[in-house]
């Protein structure tokens, strides 16, 4: 089902957390709400499921305005960060709960629970209690409970935050598999850009209660709307250099380095700009060479990450395969950038 937030406003007392937000979740897609903590992404999630009330605007499920519909009647499946399994119920009772409160027939409940337990691979755990399950299993139970009612939308609130690194990787693909199999529209709230990029069809990136950009992971990575988005996506993160425009050329590092402005919308002479250069685009064989000194080396196994300090003290990052000969700290290097891969931002941080 298609979910639409229309001029959605949320206040807590005097504080307006979100003002006139517009967002559309397409049918069957998994949309990630990505942002730093406190940006309002969980508030948005809790509003969609009806735990928080709307202070302005509308929430639409398909054609139906559910802004005033209580959580109980919205038919939303939520997986909470803590999973929120009912500790006094067995796994079966937990999953069956949404059906039990609807007073569905016992046999129907048994069938549906068995079916969903099969889907999330916990068929043999139904008699256990939540306390007897591992974190990953609890997560699967929470997913099953959210899905068993065939919800209009599935909401995932930081579902992987409580798992250890290995399980996180496993559950990342599991959640995606289950979502694709059920084809239920889903919203994933996360502060982890890797999670958002790897699991979702589209990402909505939020900052201070505002959605900055909605795009597919690849598009958002390659065409960020501003420096915040560019900095939030990508690990190791993008590096920024100050520069200015002079007669169709970009000058940086006291004009030692100059190259033609790559885009078409050329700023006026003397405009100060910032260049965003991702680690994979500062490499040995690129045309515009920028000299520097290695200030930090981080070995990541398959790759090495180098921090390179330039003459003016700013830092560029480079990530290179560790198959090539590794470079020591303090070594002088002359690596280069590719003009058309450089992201250019104005003083306010917006992309040019």
């Amino acid at each position: 089902m298609e979910i639409i937030l229309e001029d959605f406003t949320k206040r807590f007392g005097e504080v307006t957390v979100i003002e006139k937000m517009n967002l559309k979740i397409r049918e069957g897609e998994l949309l990630a709400l990505l942002g730093p903590s406190g940006c309002g992404k969980s508030t948005t999630l809790f509003t969609i499921c009806g735990i928080h009330r709307v202070d302005g605007g509308r929430v639409l499920f398909g054609d139906q305005d559910v802004s005033r519909v209580p959580a109980q009647q919205r038919n939303v499946g939520v997986v909470f960060q803590s999973y929120a399994l009912y500790p006094h119920m067995s796994v079966f009772e937990n999953i069956a709960f949404p059906l039990t409160v609807r007073k569905e027939h016992k046999n129907t409940i048994r069938e549906k629970v068995a079916e969903i337990a099969e889907l999330v691979h916990i068929g043999e755990l139904l008699k256990r209690r939540p306390e007897q399950l591992s974190g990953g299993q609890q997560q699967r139970v929470a997913l099953a409970r959210a899905l068993v009612r065939k919800p209009s939308i599935l909401l995932l609130d930081e579902p992987l935050a409580n798992l250890d690194a290995k399980l996180r990787l496993e559950m990342r693909s599991e959640i995606r598999r289950i979502q694709l199999e059920t084809r239920i529209s889903a919203v994933l709230v996360t502060h982890d850009q890797v999670e958002a990029m790897s699991m979702s069809d589209r990402i909505a990136i939020m900052k201070e209660g505002e959605i900055l950009q909605v795009a597919s992971p690849t598009e958002m990575y390659q065409q960020p709307i501003n420096d915040f988005v560019a900095g939030f996506l990508g690990n190791p993160p993008i590096a920024f250099l100050d520069a200015h425009v002079q007669e169709g050329e970009i000058h940086l590092l006291n004009r030692k380095i100059q190259f033609n402005f790559p885009g078409s919308s050329m700023p006026t002479n003397g405009t100060k700009i910032r260049l965003g250069i991702r680690p994979e685009h500062y490499q040995p064989n690129n045309p515009i060479q920028i000299p520097g000194t290695i200030s930090f080396v981080e070995t990541q196994g398959r790759e090495n990450l180098y921090d390179v300090m330039l003459d003016d003290g700013s830092i560029l990052r480079s990530i290179q395969s560790s198959a090539t000969e590794s470079i020591e700290k303090s070594a002088q290097v002359l690596w280069g950038i590719q003009p058309d891969k450089v992201l250019i931002f104005d003083q306010a941080g917006n992309r040019i």
């Binding site: 109980q72 803590s82 929120a84």
Partner: protein
């Protein structure tokens, strides 16, 4: 004895006093006579029955039942209002018993508040508290219950607020209405405090009698005379003036034994160990 003699203005020599004490003090003997007496006196059955009625109704209706109603009702109220309600229900507990019972007497006696309202409506004037056995019981349970409910209310309230918020959220999005949320989430989570209040209040009700003493004093007749009150009456406030310390003490001892036995039954039956162990799930 000396005081009694002084009151009668009789002066005796030390020798006479000594002789009199020896004659008056019967000495102590090991005996089970008092327990035997207990088994044959018909009043024993009556006070046992009264105690069961008193404890059961006060406990179930108020100390646990009404306390739960208060705790759950105030949980769903806005914070400020909830605080006021809880504070109001604490008043019976914190006001001095004598004053508190006097208020109940004002309410119920012949020229009291109830009559002042009901009389103009054509209801005959009467002492509502001591009018019938049923009325006496209703007021005994009310008087004690209003005091006892506050403890359960406080314990249950804090236990409800300790339930992880996501559990309540989850039950709401899972479609549970208020009643189902109470029935399936809140009450199961209150198992341990309910059990604790039941056990604790049951034992404390068994031995409590001051409010009954102050209100009905066991009346009308001895229809609201409970075991602990009977022990007090026999030992310290006998109608005929001959204080039966021994019999009163024997009654009290039986109460202690009953209390101990019940504690053990509670401990076994409700598997305390299991309930007080550390929870393994973290929410």
């Amino acid at each position: 004895m000396k005081a009694a003699l002084a009151e009668l203005q009789i002066e005796l020599t030390p020798y006479q006093i000594n002789t009199l004490s020896q004659a008056a003090y019967t000495g102590w003997v090991w005996t089970t006579d008092n327990f035997h007496k207990m088994t044959i006196l018909p009043e024993t059955k009556q006070i046992l029955f009264n105690t069961i009625i008193y404890v059961t109704f006060t406990l179930l209706l108020f100390n646990v039942g009404f306390a739960l109603v208060l705790a759950i009702a105030t949980f769903y109220l806005p914070k400020g209002q909830a605080g006021i309600f809880r504070a109001l229900w604490l008043l019976p507990r914190i006001s001095p018993s004598v004053l508190y019972v006097v208020l109940w007497k004002w309410l119920t006696w012949d020229t009291g508040f109830l009559n002042a309202i009901l009389n103009p409506l054509g209801v005959a004037q009467r002492n509502w508290m001591l009018d019938t056995t049923l009325n006496a019981w209703v007021f005994v349970v009310l008087i004690n219950g209003f005091i006892g409910a506050s403890m359960g209310m406080i314990l249950f309230s804090s236990a409800i607020t300790a339930i992880p918020k996501p559990l309540l959220y989850a039950s709401e999005v899972d479609g549970a209405n208020r009643w189902q949320q109470i029935r399936f989430i809140i009450l199961p989570q209150l198992k341990w405090p309910i059990l604790f209040v039941t056990v604790y209040q049951c034992l404390s009700l068994l031995t409590s009698f001051e409010q009954i003493l102050l209100s009905t004093d066991g009346g009308p007749g001895s229809t609201t005379e409970v075991w602990a009150l009977a022990a007090y009456h026999n030992a310290l406030d006998n109608y005929w003036g001959n204080l039966q310390y021994g019999y009163g003490a024997a009654l009290a001892l039986v109460l202690v034994v009953i209390g101990v036995i019940m504690s053990f039954i509670f401990l076994r039956f409700f598997r305390f160990q299991e309930l007080v162990r550390q929870p393994r799930i973290e929410q």
